[in-house]
Symmetry: C2
Amino acid sequence: MFSQTVEYALRAIVYLASKSPQACTTDQIAAATQVPKPYLSKVLQNLGRNDIVRSQRGIGGGVMLVKTPAELTILEVVNAVEPIERIETCPLGLKSHGRHLCPLHRRMDDALASVESAFGSTTLAEVLNEPTSSPPLCEPAASLRKKVSGKVV
Amino acid sequence: MFSQTVEYALRAIVYLASKSPQACTTDQIAAATQVPKPYLSKVLQNLGRNDIVRSQRGIGGGVMLVKTPAELTILEVVNAVEPIERIETCPLGLKSHGRHLCPLHRRMDDALASVESAFGSTTLAEVLNEPTSSPPLCEPAASLRKKVSGKVV
DNA sequence: GTTAAATTGGATATTGACGTCCTGTTTTGT
DNA sequence: ACAAAACAGGACGTCAATATCCAATTTAAC
């Protein structure tokens, strides 16, 4: 139900949030999130155009969050790469229904609303700070440092 | 977020439920639901293979629901054409996470679960019987009969 | 200034979703 | 038996999502 692109974008943002406000290179993010690097760069470009991340070219450059993890919600990220399209009007174009959805589309839109609400009320900070035995993107005990192209960060 | 195919399948099933236990032709359903007829026939074939509908060839034949509208949930229809895939294990394949999802995927799966739950607890009968000013698939006042290829049913 | 690091953008596969069309098969009514 | 109604299935076309690759551009460090 969620596209691969959404999954990739969220992984990248979670990683960036964990490093925030530091900038990270596409290589770093790709290694940590297991997203194909060439495609990740497209996803990050997209996130850049939608003002979720900011990028800096050249040596020492990379990508960083525009907002703080506490200010950024999952919904903003999802809507940047693949907007959740609520059902506003009757998909059959029945004029008389107007803004009033039929019971079927009412329920479909309710489902969309619940997803939107859940994602909109969760910040990246909440995701990162939640006490858990499974920290996002990494093995609980072992650090990922060794895996990141031998470069210790 | 919901595919076109899911939308089409649900429209067709709602229509069939409204005529249940009568059989309807693909032409009838296509006209009432505004789904392209050739594609609708594929969707209905699919619903047939998944035992949601049963079809009868020849004159007077058509497609009908296998269950009664009261026994059939929206979820069953959705899962027949495009199963809601819950996130069971860590998409990054982190062994140590095992069945325990990280906070990010926990929240994504929670969203899926809420959709699954909402769809699973709603029967077609409930959709049809809900008091509303916008009955499913048709204009509130005018009947659709005149539109259905001139054949009064 | 030159070089190396890093993103940007364009061009190009590949795959599945969406959609169409045609032929074959089953069934009913005459 | 024949004709018409109706679904079944395969072949095909189109387009967007996914993914890759390469050349161009920016930037920091020496």
